[in-house]
């Protein structure tokens, strides 16, 4: 049972295999060329045979005409008849033709001799048997030089008639007509045509088989290359088996190159996997070290306080002084742990909020600026009805806070938000000192900070959140020129109903 899609493939030449197309093309070309040549040969053969027959008819008429003039003047009907019969219908000759009829007519069209005298009495006007015969009779009587007439049909009933007028002392005496049948030639021509067509048919079959073999051999490596590329598309590069190379033609070279590319890709993929693994390990190590370092710092102070308090359990003054320190230290640890959790759990997109919520950030940032002399330029071109993940608000807040912290007096913050379907774009730029190029690569690493009191988790969290939404973040910064963060997050699919 053939499925519909398979049937469609069979009837749609565009989806046919190259091997089939090439072999069909070769077969078609061989067939077309073969039959064209065959047709030309057969046509030429037939024309030659017909011309030869016409010449024969003229020759026979002329041989009769040699003696006919004198015999006609003598009214020697018997000699006329004998010359006609002996020249034209010699028994036992295999002239390759068949005489349909032969006659000698006088200038008035009276029969002087006729091969079939019984039906064409000597001395009487020749009476044509049909319209064609009448037409030919008139042409023959009008002829004043040798001419070949025919009925123009390619069949067993076709004929060639040699007409030779008779003259004596420039006086027109009559005409010799010899009509030869093409029946035997027709058979000959048919035999030739049969042989030619059979030969061509054999060639076509051989050509088709060769075409199929050649095209299969040609296409085989291409099929292997295609399969290999399909595997690349699926990302399965490691279990690829090389395309066998037999020839060193274009396809062979393609196969060799493909094999090389595949081998290199597989190696690259392995290397990438190794690099990814080691990067993971490095990140893990960095996180672990960061956690250890950040948690360890307050822990040392806390342990000191606890130790001092244990030694002086009744010193109320000491308790009043140390408890806020312990509290502060523990909060610091809690903050670090919370931030880590936010960063690591960022796969959860969380609630969505109306995009208008973003504009409220402006007041928060103004408060954050406090007494500092910083201008803020706010542009929101996004669709007011758009609902966005709540994370985006946090991302924008983090970036804006960073800018406030880094800017000296007299700086300017530009906030721009707009849509470029399917993305929501957020640009936060400042004209601060910029990021030194040597630390650009570490910008989004956890626990990396240039601030004295920072945790180094802000940008790491931003990065993780954007990644979890399938978005991208880019930083353009030059020392002394300022910094711009570009954030693009796909949000259109999240439009609230």
């Amino acid at each position: 049972m053939i499925t519909d899609s398979r049937r469609m493939r069979i009837f749609n030449p565009r989806s046919w295999s190259l091997a089939i197309k090439i072999s069909l093309t070769i077969t078609t070309v061989v067939t077309a060329v073969g039959f064209m040549i065959g047709a030309v040969i057969v046509e030429q053969d037939w024309k030659n045979l017909k011309d030869e027959l016409g010449e024969k008819a003229i020759l026979l008429s002329e041989s009769v005409a040699i003696t006919a003039s004198k015999a006609m003047l003598r009214k020697d009907y018997w000699s006329l008849y004998l010359s006609l019969k002996n020249m034209v219908a010699r028994p036992g000759t295999k002239a390759g033709h068949e005489v349909i009829t032969a006659m000698i007519l006088d200038s008035e069209g009276k029969v002087q001799a006729h091969l079939n005298s019984a039906n064409n009495p000597v001395g009487l006007l020749y009476s044509p048997k049909n319209l064609l015969d009448k037409n030919l009779f008139e042409q023959a009587m009008a002829a004043r030089s040798s001419v070949v007439l025919n009925n123009g049909t390619f069949s067993k009933t076709g004929f060639q008639e040699g007409i030779v007028p008779l003259f004596s002392d420039q006086k027109y005496l009559g005409v010799v007509r010899v009509r030869l049948s093409v029946a035997r030639l027709y058979e000959k021509a048919n035999n030739t045509a049969f042989i030619v067509l059979t030969t061509i048919f054999c060639f076509v079959i051989i050509g088709s088989i060769m075409g199929t073999v050649i095209s299969r051999r040609m296409v085989k490596p291409l099929t292997a290359v295609t399969r290999g590329l399909e595997a690349v598309g699926r990302g399965e590069m490691t279990d690829f088996s090389p395309v066998p190379v037999k020839e060193l033609d274009e396809i062979g070279r393609l196969s060799v190159t493909f094999n090389k590319i595949m081998a290199e890709l597989a190696e690259k993929k392995m290397l990438e996997e190794e690099v990814a693994m080691s990067e993971k390990l490095i990140a893990l190590g960095r996180i672990t070290a960061g956690v250890a370092h950040e948690v360890n710092n307050p822990l040392a102070g806390l342990l000191n306080c606890i130790d001092t308090l244990r030694k002086n359990p009744d010193d109320k003054q000491l308790i009043d002084r140390y408890l806020p320190v312990i509290d502060q230290g523990l909060h610091r640890i809690k903050e670090i742990v919370n931030n880590l959790l936010v960063g690591l759990k960022s796969d959860d997109i969380g609630e969505t909020v109306c995009i208008k919520q973003i504009d409220k950030l402006r007041d928060l940032i103004v408060a954050e600026i406090g007494d500092k002399d910083i201008d803020i330029v706010w542009e929101n071109h996004a669709d007011c009805d758009l609902y966005i993940p709540g994370m985006i608000e946090q991302i924008a807040c983090n970036l804006l806070k960073n800018a406030v912290e880094i800017l000296p007096d007299g700086g300017t913050i530009n906030f721009r938000m707009y849509q470029d379907d399917p993305y929501l774009i957020i640009e936060v730029s400042d004209n601060g000192p910029g990021i030194p190029s040597n630390i650009k690569n570490q910008l989004f690493d956890p626990f990396f900070t240039t601030k004295t009191n920072g945790t180094g988790l802000g940008l790491w969290i931003v990065y993780r959140q954007i990644q979890s939404m399938g978005g991208i973040i880019e930083v353009i910064s030059e020392e002394g020129q300022g910094t711009t963060f570009y954030v693009a997050v796909p949000v259109i699919t999240m439009r609230a109903v």
């Binding site: 009214k75 020697d76 009907y77 018997w78 008849y81 004998l82 019969k85 001799a113 079939n116 005298s117 019984a118 039906n119 009495p121 000597v122 001395g123 009487l124």
Partner: protein, 288 residues
């Protein structure tokens, strides 16, 4: 020594004489079947053996040509037709030698033949038709049908639509059998010969009239030929029926033999010729 000379002389003389004598020439026409060359070779060989000198058969298409050979002395003997034989010649240039015997008599007929499928039953049915004569100097092939026409007070030109000569009895039969002529006049001896040797053409013909019997075409000698030779030839021909090789040749010729008959054997032909001559003086005189 003389004896040796004599022996050489007598031994060589006949050979020398044999070669020195000019060959006897025998004129032939279509009366006999000139196509059968082997038969003529056998016959000439037979005559050479009997006569002791060369005999050449000289073949001609028409009686007229054979008669010209006789007149010019180009042949010594000839087998001619009764019609030219009885015609007047001044001076007479030939002499009756012997007459073939056919079916026990020195006589034959003229057959008027038509195509076997034709509707013609009588000679008069052929009026306005085409007709094949054998030879203008033939009794059976021309004189007899001419008499039939003359008796109707007509001429070949008025009686037939068209007529022609084939100069050969066998070809007259062929002309009729192939429909070239509606009717034809032919020697009964030739027709019967063809009925055995070429039945396919005689079968296509039908005899609608058989003439009274006439003297068989005779063999004549030219006047002026050595009478001894003439006699020898006559004896040899008339003796053919008496020896085996001669009989074999006669059998092939379908003849019983040759016989000595008087000139009166040809009186019927003479009478017909006179009839014609009276009706139309353009025809030759007969020798009464």
């Amino acid at each position: 020594m003389r004896l040796i000379y004599l022996i050489i002389l007598f031994w060589t003389t006949p050979v020398y004489a044999d070669n020195a004598k000019p060959p006897l020439r025998f004129g032939l026409t279509a009366v006999v079947l000139t196509e059968n060359l082997r038969l003529l070779d056998q016959w000439s060989q037979y005559l050479e053996d009997k006569l002791g000198r060369k005999v050449h058969f000289v073949q001609r298409k028409s009686y007229r040509e054979v008669m010209d050979l006789l007149d010019s002395g180009s042949v010594e003997f000839a087998w001619i037709c009764g019609f030219p034989y009885i015609q007047t010649r001044e001076p007479e240039s030939l002499k009756l030698l012997t007459v073939p015997v056919y079916r026990r008599a020195p006589r034959y007929h003229s057959y008027i033949i038509v195509h076997h499928n034709s509707p013609f039953q009588r000679f008069r049915d052929l009026k306005g038709r085409t007709f094949a004569f054998s030879d203008p100097d033939s009794n059976s092939g021309f004189l007899y049908p001419l008499v039939l026409i003359t008796e109707r007070r007509e001429s070949p030109e008025t009686f037939f639509r068209l007529s022609f000569f084939t100069f050969n009895h066998a070809e007259t039969v062929q002309a009729v059998s192939e429909g070239v002529a509606d009717g034809g006049a032919v020697d009964s001896y030739i027709w019967e010969y063809l009925a055995i040797h070429r039945p396919e053409i005689t079968k296509k013909t039908r005899i609608i009239k058989k003439s009274p019997s006439f003297g068989f075409p005779p063999i004549v000698s030219r006047t002026g030929v050595d009478t001894d030779i003439v006699k020898q030839m006559k004896v040899v021909l008339e003796d053919m029926k008496n020896d085996t090789p001669g009989k074999a040749i006669l059998a092939q010729l379908m003849l019983d033999g040759f016989g000595d008959y008087p000139d009166s054997l040809f009186n019927e032909i003479r009478a017909m010729a006179n009839t014609i001559q009276r009706a139309s003086p353009k025809y030759p005189h007969t020798s009464d």
